[in-house]
Every structure is written in structure tokens, then in C-alpha cells.
Symmetry: C2
Subunit: 100 residues, 2 copies
């Protein structure tokens, strides 16, 4: 029997990161405030997990000003999309195994 | 749009715990050594995560002697099975959303 967790990616283990990546798979890009609202997170929580995904090379961040206000945009990178796709596939195997 | 991570259970966030629970959904009971082998874990890693699942009431542990050797058996509790089922359902929603 295969190790059911072998292909799970540690970078996506936390549910906040699962949430960020799954949102960025659907949306081309999303603002920090929008992600925060959708996942009902605090600033600090979202900032720390998005920074971890950024340093893993899975998310890229674009900082700009809209008028006088700073704006932070997030996109999944190509590497992020394919790594998350593999993670979802591994989760699906685990789910099928976990079903009674 | 619903919060995609709302129904994910923090107790199952870690991939070792995902692995333990998914194995115990398929097998009525499993020995510590068998789980360790299947998930390719260290004693310490498995012990700490199974203890966390036990204190959450999701896993029960039976210690006995086989001859002179101590033996530790794990089973998912009824609460564990239903909580994990809900976690799998929430993961499935997230996976469907995450698919391109």
C-alpha cells in the first residue's frame, strides 16, 4: 500500500495557505483585502502565510498605489499552480482512500 | 462566495494526522508500528500527532502485551470518523474550487 501522504506538499499544509492558493487558482489576481475578507483572516495571519508562499515561489506580490492608498495584489505563479495542482491530486487520493 | 476553508478542521491540518485518520478510516484498527511503516514516520512524530488526535477524542488507543512485548493499537472513534468525514467533504469543495 502506497504512503497516502507522500505527495502532500508541506507548503500547503496549513488551511490558510490552502485557502489562499485555491482562491488564486480561480482568480487571475486578488487584492490582500479581498483575500482577507473571503477567508475571514486577520492582517497578520494572511501576511505571514502569503509571505511563506511567496518565499516558496508559489505566489507573487505586486505593490502599487491606488491614488494615495497602498494596494497589494497577489497572483499564483506558474510553479505555484502546478505544485498546488499536485497537492490537490494527492489530497484526492487520500480522500478516496479515506472514504468508508 | 463562501469561505472555502470555513469547515476545515484544524485538528486534521497536519499531513501526518491526515494520514493517520485516512488509514484508520479504512482499517478497523492498526498497530503503532504498522502506521509508522505505512506513513514512513519517526516514533516521536507519530506519537505526538496520535496523542493530539487522542486528546481531541478522534482516536482511541489500546495498550496490551503480546507475549513480553508491549503493543499499541489505534482505532478511530465514532466522533473521529464523522469529524474526518466532514473534513474530507470540506477538502473536496476546496479541491473542486481549486481546479482550473
Amino acid at each position: 500500500m502506497l504512503n497516502p501522504i507522500q505527495h502532500l506538499n508541506k507548503a500547503f499544509e496549513n488551511k490558510v495557505r490552502l485557502g489562499i492558493m485555491s482562491l488564486l487558482m480561480i482568480h487571475e489576481e486578488l487584492e490582500f483585502t479581498r483575500i482577507k475578507e473571503l477567508l475571514q483572516l486577520t492582517d497578520g495571519n494572511l501576511a505571514s502565510h502569503s509571505r511563506a508562499l511567496e518565499s516558496a515561489g508559489y505566489v507573487e506580490v505586486e505593490k502599487s498605489f491606488v491614488g494615495r492608498k497602498p494596494n497589494t495584489l497577489y497572483r499564483a505563479t506558474k510553479a505555484g499552480r502546478s505544485a498546488f495542482q499536485q497537492h490537490l491530486d494527492a489530497l484526492e487520493v487520500l480522500i478516496r482512500q479515506g472514504r468508508d
